[in-house]
Symmetry: C2
Subunit: 497 residues, 2 copies
C-alpha cells in the first residue's frame, strides 16, 4: 500500500480553514449522535516518528466534547502491563458504548517495532497477527466503529524533521533513540509496516494511509475519514433502529476526491521509448524470458501474469510480445470474458482457480478475477457487500497461490482518456481494427470516473507484498511492452535466487 | 473435542429402520428444495481408517437423485494435482448452485496425515490452516452449506477392524500401509486431529464428531445432522426470498437427543472418597500447590482457574480448598455476578480481560465468561448470533492468553438434579446456610434441560488442546476438591517442565 502513495499532496491555507471549520462542526454533531446511539468509536494512529500524529490528534479532539473521549498514548508497557498478554492493556482502554478512544500508537507496534527489533518473529509473530485480527473483529462485531490511520512520510522527510527538532534545544528531547533507529532502518520498518497493513486491513477495520508531508492535507484527510466512517455507521444504526434522523443529521458526506489516495494521478504517461531502443530491449528481454521459462520448468515454479487495464490500453499486443519467444508447451493465455452459465453457478473465483498453472508453467490472464471489483462493482453485477468482501477474498487467494510457491504479477495498463479516444477513433477508421471496437466500449467510456474510483481502490487494497501491482504507463505501447517484459523477468529471477 | 466422546453409543435394529426410513424421505425432499433454491451443499467425511466412511456415504446417497450430487474420493494427488496449490483440486470439485458434493476425505488431510508424516510443519502448517479457513469462509459467504463429519473410533476398535479385514482374503487389500501406520501412531494422529478440529471449527462450517463404533448409530447421526443443516439453511433462504414454503417443506426437525454428543451422560457421579483418603491427599496437594505458587512466581507464569457448575455444586467450598494454603499475595479470587452498568457498556469479554492475572500470579474465577453461552443463552439475555459467535470469541481469547504463556484450567462441577435438590433443601433447613439459597436457584432448577443442552455444547465447542475442560464429578464434595487440586498441580507441573 505504501510504495505508491503520492506524498506531494498539499492543501492551501484558505481551503484548509474553510474545510476545517465545516469538518469541526460536523464532527462535533456526529460525536453527539454516536453518544445517543451508544456507538463506541476507536481511532488508531500509527505511522512514522515525526509524521505528526500528536498534532493531528490535538486538532481532532478540539471540536469534541471532552467528556466523551479519551486519548491513550501508547508508550513502552509498564512492568504491570508487560506481565500480561500484549493486548491486555488495550482491552482495558476500549471505549464504553457512546464513547471514543483515540490511540496514539497502539497494538500494531507489536508487529512493526517489536518485529524489526527482533523481539518477536516466526510463530509468535503469526500468533500476534491472529490475536490482533480477532481483537478487531470481536470489537467490530460488538458494534465498535474502528478507524485506523497510518501517517506516512518518506525517509528524507523524516530525516529533515528530526534535524529541525534536534536543532532547537527546546524540541531536541522529542527525538528519541528509537526514533533515530527508525530513521536508520527506515526500509526495514517500511517492509514491516507494509506487511502489517496487508495482514490487518479488513472491511470492519480498514486502514487509511495518510500522506503526511503536508500537515494541512493530512489533518483534513483524517477529519474527512472519521466523518465519513461515523456518518456511515450512524446512518446504518438509525435505519436498523428505525430512528428518524434527528435535525442534526447531515446528508452523508462524500470524501472529497483530493483526499483519496491516488495511485493513477502519479502515473507518468509521457514515458516513451524510441523504436530502436524498443527493439534492442525487446529482443534481449524475450530471450531472457525464454531461458527463464525453462528454468522455472525444471525448478517447478508456477508463474501467474495478470493483465488488467483500460479498454484499448494495448493488452493484446502486450501479451503477444511476452509470449512471442516462449515455448508454447510452457505457457497458456486465458482470455476472460463474462462468465458462462456453469461459471455463474459457482463461486466467482472458481473459474480462475481451475485455470491456475501447474508448477513449472506460466498462465497469462487477459483480464482477471479483478473483474469482481471493477466491472461487476461499477455495473452493479454484484452487491456492495460482495465486492467489498472480494478484496479480502482475492488477497487470500493470491496468498494461497504464493504459499504454494507461485510468482504472481499483476499489471494495470494505464492510458489517459484522450489517448483512449484517439485509439477508439483509429479503430473505427481502420477496417482491420474495426472488430476491436464495440458499442460497449463507448458505453464504458462514459463511466470512466466510476471505473477510476474502482481502479484506485483495487490498486490500494490488493497491492500486497506477495502480489504487488505494477502500473504500466501505456500511452506509448513500446514502453509498456518493455516494462512488462522486464518486470516479469526480474520477478522470476528474484524468485529463482 | 475427541477425548470426551462416548463411543459406546448404539442403536437397535428396529429403531434404526424406522429412523432411517423417515430420514431418507426427508433427505430426498430436501435435496429437491436445495436444488430449487440453488443452494450448493458440501459434505465432508474425515476420520479414522476403517471408521466406516465409505459405508455411510453409500447409505447417504441412496435416497438422493443421482443427477444432483457427486462423490469425490480424495486419494493421493495426481502428478497434475501435486503441481498445484493443495486446495486447487478441491476448488475444482466445489458444487455448482443447487448441487451437492460429498468428499470422502478432503483437504483436511493436509493438516493431519501430512503433518504426522512430517511433510508439513511450522510456517507451512500455519499457512495451511489459514488457507483452509479462508477457503471455507469464502464458500460459506457465497451461500454454500458446509457439513463436516469426523468419524471417531478408538485405537482398539480400529485394530480389531483391521484384523477382521485382513483375516479375509477378499477384504485384506482394503487395509493399506498408511492405515497400518495410522494404527501404529494412533496417538499422534489423535493429537493432530484434535488440533485440526479446533483450528477449523467455525459457525459457518462446524464439525460434527460421529461416534462410529456402532454403524447404525453413526449412520443415523449423519443423516440427522445433514437434515438439520439443510432444513435450517432452506428455511433461512425461504424467509429471505419470501418464498412460501412448498408443500414438501416439513417443520424443522430437532436432532433427536440421543444423537447429540453427550459429555455429561458419561460422568460417573458415584465417585467418592473416604474422609481419611481425602485428608491425606488434600494436605499433600495443598502443599504441592503452595510450592508451585512460588515457582510460577519466579518463572513468571500466569495461571487462570475457571469454575463453572450447577447451582449448589460446591464451587465455594472447592475454591476455598484450593486457596487455603496459598500465599495471598500470589492469587486472587474473582467472583462473577451479573454485569454492572459500566461492564454492560463494554464488550462482554472486557470485564474478564481486565481481571486476567499478571505473569506469575493466579486468578481464580468463580463463574466466568462462559456465562455468555450458559445463563445469557438460556435466559435470552443475548441473541442467538451473539452466543453462537461467543464460542469462537472465547476460544480466541483463551488462545491469546495461552499464546502469552498462561496455564488455563476450566472446571465444570457436575452434580445430578437429585443431589442438587437434596442440597437446596438442606440449605433451606440450616440457618447458617439459608443465605445460599434464593428464589432464583429454584427458578434455574426448572430450566435444567435447557441448561444441560447449553452446557453440553459449551464443553464440546470450547474444549481445546490449549484450554481443555475438566468435568468434575461433584456429588461427593471430597472427591471433587481433590480432583480439582490435583488437576491444577499436574497442569502447572507440566507447564514448568
Amino acid at each position: 500500500m505504501l510504495e505508491n502513495i503520492d506524498l506531494s499532496k498539499t492543501l492551501d491555507k484558505a481551503e484548509y480553514r474553510k474545510l476545517k471549520d465545516e469538518a469541526e462542526l460536523k464532527l462535533s454533531a456526529l460525536q453527539r449522535q454516536a453518544k445517543e446511539l451508544g456507538i463506541p468509536v476507536i481511532i488508531v494512529f500509527e505511522g512514522w516518528g515525526a509524521a505528526g500524529k500528536g498534532t493531528i490528534i490535538n486538532e481532532l479532539i478540539l471540536p469534541l466534547d471532552p467528556r466523551g473521549f479519551k486519548v491513550y498514548s501508547t508508550v513502552a508497557p509498564t512492568t504491570e502491563e508487560a506481565m500480561h498478554p500484549f493486548l491486555w492493556r488495550f482491552w482495558q482502554h476500549t471505549p464504553a458504548r457512546g464513547r471514543m478512544t483515540l490511540f496514539d500508537r497502539s497494538w500494531y507496534g507489536r508487529v512493526v517495532g517489536d518485529r524489526v527489533e527482533g523481539t518477536i518473529s516466526g510463530k509468535e509473530l503469526r500468533q500476534a497477527f491472529e490475536d490482533i485480527r480477532s481483537f478487531g473483529r470481536q470489537l467490530a462485531d460488538d458494534g465498535n466503529v474502528i478507524i485506523k490511520f497510518f501517517l506516512h512520510i518518506s525517509k528524507k522527510e523524516q530525516k529533515h524533521r528530526f534535524n529541525v527538532l534536534r536543532g532547537n534545544p527546546a524540541t531536541a528531547w522529542r527525538v528519541s533513540k528509537s526514533d533515530l533507529k527508525q530513521q536508520k532502518h527506515y526500509s526495514e520498518y517500511l517492509a514491516a509496516s507494509e506487511d502489517m497493513l496487508t495482514e490487518t486491513d479488513s472491511d470492519y477495520a480498514p486502514w487509511t494511509v495518510v500522506e503526511a508531508h503536508d500537515q494541512r492535507f493530512a489533518t483534513i484527510k483524517v477529519f474527512s475519514t472519521v466523518i465519513a466512517a461515523l456518518e456511515k455507521c450512524i446512518a446504518a444504526r438509525q435505519q436498523k433502529q428505525a430512528v428518524t434522523p434527528s435535525t442534526e443529521a447531515a446528508p452523508l458526506t462524500q470524501m472529497p476526491e483530493v483526499f483519496r489516495s491516488s495511485i493513477l494521478d502519479r502515473v507518468d504517461l509521457s514515458l516513451t521509448l524510441t523504436r530502436k531502443a524498443y527493439e534492442d530491449r525487446l529482443k534481449k528481454a524475450q530471450q531472457a524470458l525464454r531461458e527463464l521459462e525453462y528454468k522455472i520448468y525444471t525448478k517447478r515454479v508456477p508463474v501467474i501474469i495478470a493483465y488488467e487495464g483500460w479498454d484499448a490500453a494495448g493488452k493484446g499486443g502486450n501479451i503477444r510480445r511476452v509470449t512471442q519467444s516462449l515455448d508454447p508447451r510452457g505457457y497458456e493465455v486465458v482470455p476472460i470474458a463474462a462468465p458462462n452459465d456453469l461459471e455463474k453457478s459457482h463461486h466467482y473465483l472458481w473459474r480462475f482457480w481451475v485455470q491456475m498453472p501447474k508448477a513449472g508453467h506460466i498462465t497469462i490472464f487477459d483480464r482477471t478475477w479483478y473483474g469482481r471489483v471493477l466491472v461487476e462493482r461499477v455495473e452493479g453485477f454484484c452487491s456492495e457487500p460482495e465486492w467489498r468482501r472480494a478484496y479480502r477474498e482475492i488477497n487470500e487467494m493470491e496468498q494461497h497461490l504464493t504459499h504454494a510457491g507461485a510468482v504472481l504479477l499483476k499489471f494495470w495498463l494505464h492510458i489517459d482518456p484522450a489517448e483512449q479516444l484517439r485509439r477508439f477513433k483509429e479503430r473505427e477508421k481502420l477496417a482491420y481494427k474495426q472488430w476491436k471496437i464495440t458499442e460497449e466500449d463507448w458505453r464504458n467510456r462514459k463511466k470512466i470516473p466510476q471505473y477510476r474510483v474502482a481502479v484506485e481502490e483495487m490498486l490500494y487494497r490488493t497491492s500486497t507484498p506477495f502480489a504487488p501491482w505494477t502500473v504500466v504507463e501505456s500511452n506509448c505501447k513500446l514502453h509498456a511492452r518493455i516494462k512488462v517484459l522486464e518486470t516479469v523477468c526480474k520477478a522470476i529471477q528474484k524468485r529463482l535466487k
